[in-house]
């Protein structure tokens, strides 16, 4: 097994939690974000589709969901930035016997809101939501979603039938939106007891009925922290905005080379600003014309600008997957993304200029960007 290095973060540093098909890495920089140390590889050989940082209640805890092809997936955590990881005897996340299925993959780890500092959520494959109320010690299946009568008609997308997006409304502990490929979005307004599909205006080009109640292949949804009514959605064909917390969606794909793609990020302060990486068709799934271009809107999707400075513009056939793009909360915001070809790019000025932070990583499947400083005053 490869030798593992560790990073030694200080308060104020930015960390990139990078999950790949063969392990996890932690990139560290100070707030200038010009040079980066690399920790890892952690869990070499295991696919790490989900990582998260929990800085609530005085913690500095990194979560990871390594999945070994042989030994399955176990949720693990580190309180010293990767030097030591838990290795629980019993897998913390598993389906109850009554469900009759086995966990295939953990796709998303979402720490709860600041006011529920011991709560965490996980989205998994087969599509289901798990919740922990004791800081990740024990987990339970959300029965309301699991027993939804429409679930039997959900079908797997190319990546499997995964619950990959969890959006926690900061205004209400009871309101959670999730997205499943391929089922679309569902929302609860009673803390998970009941769920309803919420896909109005989102297209399903692969079905006879183009605007079904559910069944859309939603790839990623992001929500503004300062205006939670504002969301952007990257669909399997279709790029959308919502101004009413996801109740209705408006197509905003004007000016992009393709409305197919996976990854999205939204500005930490400006709800009109988001970043995407369009891909060419659902057959090719690579950057159009061999040009690696991030597109940014600063007017809520009325127009999109290509951000290319520092990114390869020739023979760059890259794929950026649904969780492989993230932004940090600093000002100006840093934006980061990883590719299936193992490249990691970053910008410390909201996409105006890009640097290649790494090359030769295993295929990147998830990127999280966090600041371990105290929350910024507004």
């Amino acid at each position: 097994m490869p030798a593992t290095r560790d990073v030694k973060p200080r308060n104020g540093d930015v960390l990139l939690l990078v999950g790949t098909m063969k392990g996890a890495f932690i990139f560290r920089s100070d707030e200038k974000r010009k040079s980066w140390d690399v920790g890892g590889p952690y869990f070499p050989g295991s696919a790490v589709y989900a990582m998260a940082y929990d800085g609530r209640a005085g913690r500095h805890r990194v979560w990871a969901a390594p999945h070994s092809m042989h030994w399955g997936g176990v949720l693990r955590s580190s309180d010293d930035f990767g030097k030591n990881w838990t290795n629980p005897e019993s897998a913390p996340i598993k389906f109850p016997e009554s469900a009759g299925v086995a966990l295939n993959q953990i796709w998303q780890i979402a720490p709860g809101r600041e006011t529920e500092s011991d709560t965490l959520y996980c989205g998994v494959e087969p599509a289901a939501l798990f919740v922990s109320r004791d800081a990740g010690e024990t987990w339970s299946l959300n029965e309301g979603l699991w027993n939804h009568p429409q679930r039997e008609r959900w079908v797997p997308g190319g990546g499997g039938m995964c619950l990959h997006t969890i959006l926690l409304d900061p205004r209400s502990l009871d309101r959670i939106r999730i997205a499943v490929s391929t089922a679309g979005m569902y929302v609860t307004e009673d803390g998970g007891e009941t769920w309803r599909p919420s896909n109005k205006g989102v297209r399903a080009d692969f079905l006879p009925e183009k605007y079904p109640e559910f069944g859309q292949c939603v790839h990623k949804v992001v929500q503004s922290k300062v205006n939670p009514d504002r969301m952007f959605l990257q669909n399997h064909w279709g790029l959308y905005r919502s101004d009413d917390s996801g109740e209705k969606w408006k197509d905003v794909a004007k000016g992009v080379p393709s409305d197919f793609g996976f990854a999205m990020a939204i500005h930490p302060e400006d709800p009109d600003c988001a970043w995407i990486v369009p891909l060419e068709s659902d057959g090719f799934r690579c950057t159009p014309e061999g040009k690696l271009r991030v597109y940014r809107t600063q007017n809520a999707g009325k127009s999109w600008d290509a951000m290319t400075k520092g990114l390869p513009q020739k023979d760059a056939y890259e794929t950026v997957l649904r969780d492989a793009m993230a932004n940090d909360p600093l000002d100006p915001a840093g934006v980061y993304f990883g590719t299936r070809n193992g490249k990691l790019f970053g910008s410390s000025d909201e996409g105006k200029k890009w640097s290649q932070l790494a090359d030769g990583l295993p295929a990147v499947v998830s990127v999280n960007a966090v600041s371990i400083s105290l929350p910024r005053k507004r």
Binding site: S68, H70, W71, G72, N87, E89, K94, L103
Partner: protein, 93 residues
Amino acid sequence: MSLVFVIPGPLRELAGNRAEVRVKSSAESASKALTLLWAECPGVRDRVVTEIGEVRPHVNIFIDGESIKFTGGLASPVRDGAEIVILPALSGG
């Protein structure tokens, strides 16, 4: 009466850093034999079988050198004194 379990390298941390686990008992079937191993090394269980009790698809279990895939799966018979080897399957990329 005894059974010997051979633990693969990646799981030894969960078996008290042992390469072999010997239990002074016997079992009629692979399933019952593994239950004895789970009692001795509970952390090995979730790595070898799923929550619905199936051997993970990329894990092989051999009893006295024969894969249980060809002898009846978890119902395979186990003789007293058998050696039960757990190995990762040839897979990956």
